[in-house]
């Protein structure tokens, strides 16, 4: 009943949407990460108004569906003729930038909380000790906080990046011809949704397999201190 050669055919055709999917993902994850660091810093700041501002932002962007945010940015903002006269319009006119913006704003909210969790996981004693050694500001962050926070937040953050890879599919609702958009177009030409969605699903699976492997590798590299020394395992000490 399932037509394998047809699925393969669809898979090959859908592959032409991968560059756009990857671009949307890369642009939004990268710019979202920058915004997330700023938001996390605000959340950790000792000045209450900054913390409150970041809290409100995170509350709104985590509490509403990404699709709604995307529609508000794409169809909502274009309803204001005033906006169309500003320097922002050349960007907001394009579905591509609207999709990237919505994805970035959304992932920033989630990532900020992941970063905050990572930073808070660094034992206070270590920070105190570092300060006692005279480290402060950037040195403290670079030497003590960042390496440990990064390792703590990696599993959570890899989840977020995988979610973003899948969220790019929503861009198809605003005319973007990425993998899902192409799939919809192909379905309208063939009326064979099952095979084509299987092919599209396989592409996302493959993509996310690579993403999760990369994070795994990164995690391995960062956690040298937690690994058992090789000579002990070779000696069969725990066997």
């Amino acid at each position: 009943m399932i037509d394998l050669p047809f699925i393969y055919d669809a898979f090959v055709q859908l592959c032409s949407g991968i560059p756009l999917t990857l671009q949307l993902m890369a642009v939004s994850v990268a710019s979202g990460a920058v915004l997330a660091i700023a938001l996390a810093a605000m959340r950790l700041s000792s000045w209450p108004p900054l913390d409150l501002l970041a809290r409100i932002y995170i509350f709104i962007f985590r509490g509403t569906p990404l699709l709604v945010q995307l529609y508000l940015i794409y169809y909502g903002l274009s309803q204001f003729p005033e906006l169309r006269k500003t320097f922002l319009w050349p960007f907001l006119r394009e579905a591509y930038w609207c999709a990237a913006l919505a994805l970035a704003l959304n992932t920033a909210a989630y990532s900020a909380e992941i970063i905050r969790g990572g930073v808070l996981s660094v034992p206070a004693g270590q920070i105190e000790a570092a300060r006692a050694y005279g480290m402060s500001g950037l040195t403290l962050i670079r030497r003590i906080i960042a390496p440990q926070a990064l390792r703590q937040m990696l599993p959570g953050y890899s989840n977020e990046v995988i979610l973003m890879a899948k969220s790019t599919a929503l861009a198809s609702t605003i005319t973007m011809m990425e993998v899902t958009g192409l799939a919809a177009k192909l379905i309208s030409a063939t009326y064979r949704p099952v095979e084509i969605f299987i092919a599209a699903g396989a592409i996302y699976l493959l993509l996310n397999f690579i993403v999760s492997r990369l994070f795994k590798l990164f995690e391995y590299r960062l956690s040298a201190a937690q690994r058992q020394p090789i000579y002990r395992r070779a000696a069969g000490e725990n066997a």
């Binding site: 169809y75 274009s78 309803q79 169309r84 006119r93 579905a95 609702t173 005319t175 011809m177 958009g181 919809a184 177009k185 379905i187 309208s188 030409a189 009326y191 949704p193």
Partner: protein, 275 residues
């Protein structure tokens, strides 16, 4: 024990459904394609096809349930058995006939461009004149339009005859963008993201009357022809008995002027199929 109760409840529901299925015809429409079919106030479906469906069902002495279904899933859901018929301004095309059946046509499909008055596309040739794209006379007109829309952003609803028309006649010329609904491409026409849209002329004409579409107008000929086809009730291939029932009542409704009357009520023009 609990499981037994649940199972027997499901069984009851199932048998109730079978018993009811005899004379109930479930018809899907899009509900976002005014004035053919749309959600009116209080979310009640209204439009030309809703009125026509009710009339046809009365003639068939059947009870009809009309449900709204997104356009892009409307054919797969029919073949999956979620409903029995589609009345959603769906053109009869050879490609669709590969996967489904159609009743006799109940309307002709006429498509047109629309653009903003202050844009360069507001004055396409032959505005308002009927033109069959299959005719010899169409060639120079289509060539002139192709030149004018070269590189312009043109919105169409995905999986429609309008998108097939753009692909077939203006391949590689205009920057064609596909939308989920005509309402969405109209928004983008009004906000100047698009230079033009192509859709069913009756639908565009109705949309242009709204305030937020001020400044937009129909431009170019009123296209008809093979690529647009005629509009019929979409059915599953195996439901030949249902097709025969629809064929009979549609022919009767066309013959006695009911289709013409409803068409003039909703479109102000007669779109009833001409033999």
């Amino acid at each position: 024990m609990k499981l037994k109760i649940i199972l027997s409840a499901i069984g009851l529901l199932a048998t109730a459904h079978v018993a009811q299925a005899e004379d109930v015809i479930r018809i899907a429409t899009e509900g976002a394609y005014a004035p053919w079919n749309f959600s009116g106030p209080n979310n009640v479906l209204e439009g030309f096809e809703i009125d026509l469906a009710n009339d046809l069902c009365e003639r068939m002495k059947a009870k009809c349930e009309i449900v709204a279904q997104n356009w892009d899933g409307i054919i797969p859901s029919l073949t999956a058995g979620k409903y029995d018929a589609i009345m959603a301004a769906m053109s009869i095309t050879p490609k669709r006939e590969e996967v489904m059946a159609f009743s006799a046509p109940y309307a002709a499909a006429i498509n047109s461009f629309a653009a903003m008055e202050d844009s360069g596309l507001a004055n396409l040739p032959e505005t308002g004149k009927p033109l069959s794209v299959d005719s010899e006379a169409a060639k120079p007109v289509l060539e002139e339009i192709a030149k004018k829309i070269q590189g312009k952003a043109v919105g169409v609803q995905g999986s429609t005859t309008a998108s097939a028309f753009m692909e077939q006649y203006f391949q590689g010329g205009a920057d064609v963008r596909e939308y989920k609904t005509t309402e969405e491409h109209n928004f983008d026409l009004a906000s100047a993201r698009l230079d033009a849209v192509v859709a069913n002329a009756t639908v565009l004409a109705a949309a242009l009357e709204k305030d937020d579409m001020k400044g937009a107008k129909l431009t170019g000929p009123l296209f008809s022809g093979k690529v647009f086809g005629m509009i019929g009730v979409g059915l599953r291939k195996e439901d030949t008995a249902l097709k025969a029932r629809f064929d009979d009542v549609i022919k009767a409704a066309v013959a006695d002027g009911t289709v013409k009357k409803l068409s003039e009520k909703w479109f102000k023009v007669d779109v009833s199929p001409q033999e």
